[in-house]
């Protein structure tokens, strides 16, 4: 079983390395190698599933990585239900998107490089999922950030894409500093307690022991460590206030947005929350914070999605919002619901992004105001997009309904405020998705000849649509066993369903049959509309922060460098040496007699001194 898991991990790595070294100038081969490696990885994951079964005890295997007297780091694998679930999602959705990419990136000058980076990403993501200790996880966590950077900036000749890549990299780095500090704090504390370790299972036992002992100091330290590690999640999963990079990351190729910035990488934060749930749940404050951030992000990203006109940005804000849902699920102490939503979201959001990719591929625009009636012209794309939309909105019996309902039920039982906000988010989700679908896919069909793309782009859509429909009936929840399964009263389910349906229908009605009402509505609400279009001024705030704080600090450093380092330090030393040399040069007359005179004077003085000394 363990060798299989290692194979799952390394197959994409060898594909990436092989492409980088041998196939950069043979794009067709590169594409197939990458896709085949991913499919092989998926196959191994399936084998693992059948061998291991769902929800068995954790299996662990590792080799020594760093061995110092006070520091032992392993490189290993931890297999449990959570790992299996993520492996299947990453390799399964990944395989489909690799296949799709072959069509989407056709004739792209960076085709081979694209597939190499994508394989590198798959390797890193699988590393996060399989890691059995914090250091290994952190290393892969950073690798994922790197491949995300490479892929967002794939079209680096476009300045927006290059900037977006940098922004994503730097913003997540802010969170990762916290993550690293959290790991070190935890390790230092365990070290002081006698057992310095990074291993998840060992830490879990230790934390459990501490929790039972109920020592106050330990709990407050776990709180701090939990907050710091959660910072990493906030960065990677694009939660408020580090969410700003995700919408910009849409500059990357659409399959990348689907795989990395919707289905898998951004979900890594949620996965980390689930993996370290024992740590976060040790402190109710941390859980509360996580829930608050999740709910806040869910709600405010949904409002932002209302006014976007770029099809990918609408989906990006929707992703933010749904990630908020997952984080909220974890924060409300229901990792099962969070991970369930992660799984279903991976299917339908990947589907939606790939559908958007088809549209962009056909129309060469991302502005939904320039789209209409695509359902008739592109039946496969439109049909599957509708499935994805309904799943996201949470219509019975599609997958999104089941997972969203779980989270809503959990919220209803723990916090009324969270419940109301999440319900409002569900309503807003239905509204903006209805708007997107109504504007882009319904209405008058375009005159232009627009059609569905080829099989390699259509088949992933169909498969994903299938999974978006049936994922709710799959035993996905059993991967993450819980002692008490949360189940809300029936009216919560009904309310969630009603809210989604009403929002969706209302939005269809408004945008399709009565657009004048929408116009007058937005005319009357110019102020709020402007706030939404400026994205609550978060980006402006960061820009101002950078301009006023960072730039002035940089200016100070520049001044220090110019005056102290260069003028005084470097030039000053040179001047001192030159001046001393000038003085000493006066002694070098070149006359033998002068030297002889000095010499004899010196001897005289020394002799005289010696005589006096010895008297």
């Amino acid at each position: 079983m363990i060798p299989l898991a290692w194979l799952v991990l390394w197959t994409p790595f060898f594909a990436a390395v092989g492409i980088f070294f041998f196939l950069l100038h043979r794009p067709q081969a590169a594409g197939w190698v990458a896709t085949a490696a991913m499919a092989l990885s998926f196959f191994f994951s399936l084998l693992l599933l059948f061998r291991a079964g769902i929800g068995r005890e954790a299996v662990e295997s590792s080799v020594q990585w760093v061995a110092l007297p006070a520091l032992k780091i392993e490189f290993g694998i931890l297999l449990n239900g959570l790992t299996l679930l993520m492996l299947l999602i990453v390799t399964g959705v990944g395989s489909l998107i690799f296949l799709y990419s072959q069509g989407y990136m056709h004739r792209d000058p960076g085709y081979a490089r694209y597939f190499a980076s994508l394989s590198l990403f798959a390797f890193s993501m699988l590393g996060i999922v399989l890691a059995n200790n914090l250091v290994e996880l952190f290393a892969f966590w950073e690798l994922v950030g790197l491949s995300s950077y490479l892929l967002i900036g794939h079209w680096f000749e476009k300045p927006e894409a290059a900037d977006a890549g940098k922004k994503a990299f730097l913003t997540t780095r802010v969170g990762d500093v916290g993550f690293l500090l959290g790991i070190l704090l935890l390790f230092g504390w365990l070290q002081a307690g006698g057992e310095g370790t990074f291993n998840f299972l060992v830490i879990q036992d230790l934390v459990k022991g501490i929790h039972q002992a109920g020592s106050g100091g330990a709990v407050s330290l776990l709180t701090v460590a939990g907050i710091l590690i959660f910072l990493g999640v906030v960065g990677k999963s694009a939660q408020f206030p580090l969410h700003v990079w995700l919408p910009d990351a849409m500059e990357g190729p659409t399959p990348v947005s689907a795989l990395i910035h919707a289905a898998t990488m951004v979900a890594a934060g949620v996965f980390l929350l689930a993996r370290l749930f024992f740590l976060f749940s040790a402190s109710s404050f941390v859980l509360g914070l996580i829930a608050a951030i999740g709910v806040l992000t869910a709600f405010f990203a949904a409002t932002l999605a209302l006014v976007q006109t770029d099809i990918k940005r609408i989906l990006a804000y929707s992703t933010l919002s749904q990630l908020g849902f997952m984080v909220a699920g974890l924060g409300l102490a229901n990792p099962q619901a969070g991970m369930f939503h992660l799984a279903t979201h991976a299917f339908f959001k990947a589907l939606l992004f790939l559908g958007a990719g088809n549209v962009i591929h056909a129309l060469h625009t991302q502005d939904i105001r320039q789209m209409s009636g695509l359902l008739k012209k592109m039946p496969v794309t439109g049909g599957t997009f509708l499935v994805g939309t309904l799943a996201l909105v949470g219509i019975f019996p599609l997958s999104g309904f089941w997972s969203k309902e779980e989270i809503l039920a959990t919220a209803q039982q723990t916090s009324p405020l969270a419940f109301i906000l999440l319900l409002a988010t569900a309503f807003l989700t239905a509204v903006y998705m209805g708007r997107l679908f109504a504007v882009a896919f319904l209405g008058e069909a375009p005159k232009k000849a627009v059609h569905d793309p080829g099989w390699e782009m259509n088949s992933p859509l169909v498969i994903l649509a299938l999974f978006s429909i049936i994922a709710g009936f799959l035993p996905l929840k059993e991967f993450v066993p819980m002692e008490h399964e949360a189940s809300g009263p029936f009216w919560v389910t009904l309310l969630g369903l009603t809210v989604g349906t009403v929002g969706f229908v209302l939005s269809l009605y408004l945008y399709l049959l009565n657009p004048a009402l929408v116009d007058s509505f937005s005319e009357n609400l110019k102020g709020p509309r402007r706030i939404l279009e400026r994205k609550y001024y978060v980006d402006d705030f960061y820009n101002a922060l950078i301009r006023h704080v960072q730039d002035s600090f940089a200016h100070l450093c520049d001044l220090f460098e110019r005056v102290v380092v260069v003028e005084w330090g470097v030039n000053g030393t040179a001047r001192l040496v030159r001046f001393t040399g000038h003085l000493l040069r006066q002694l070098q007359t070149g006359r033998i007699q002068f030297y002889a005179l000095i010499f004899s004077l010196g001897v005289t003085v020394l002799t005289y001194g010696w005589v006096l000394w010895n008297r």
């Binding site: 000493l584 040069r585 002694l587 070098q588 007359t589 070149g590 006359r591 033998i592 007699q593 002889a596």
Partner: protein
């Protein structure tokens, strides 16, 4: 027998030699001054040897004379080289090493 005059003479000779060395620009005369210095030292050695009845001083005097001979050989060779190069034995012409 008083020995002081020998030492005084030696000191005077040494002073004359040193002065000559300092003020003369002619390389040959400078070599001459150095001879004077060496011989004043020899005189001191001999006087001291007589004064304390030791032979060490005389041995040193012989040593000094040998060294003087060798020194003159080298010195004259240098003077000839200098003359060949700059057509003069004036040490003012030897300022090439001035900083």
């Amino acid at each position: 027998m008083p020995y002081t005059p020998y030492f005084v003479l030696s000191a005077i000779l040494f002073a004359i030699g040193l002065t000559g060395l300092f003020i003369r620009r002619n390389l040959l005369l400078m070599l001459l001054a150095i001879e004077l210095l060496l011989n004043s030292a020899n005189l001191s050695f001999i006087a001291a040897s007589a004064r304390w009845g030791e032979l060490t001083g005389q041995v040193f005097a012989f040593f000094g004379m040998t060294i003087a001979a060798a020194e003159v050989t080298v010195g004259l060779a240098l003077a000839i080289l200098l003359f060949r190069n700059v057509d003069s034995v004036d040490t003012k012409r030897l300022e090439m090493l001035k900083g």
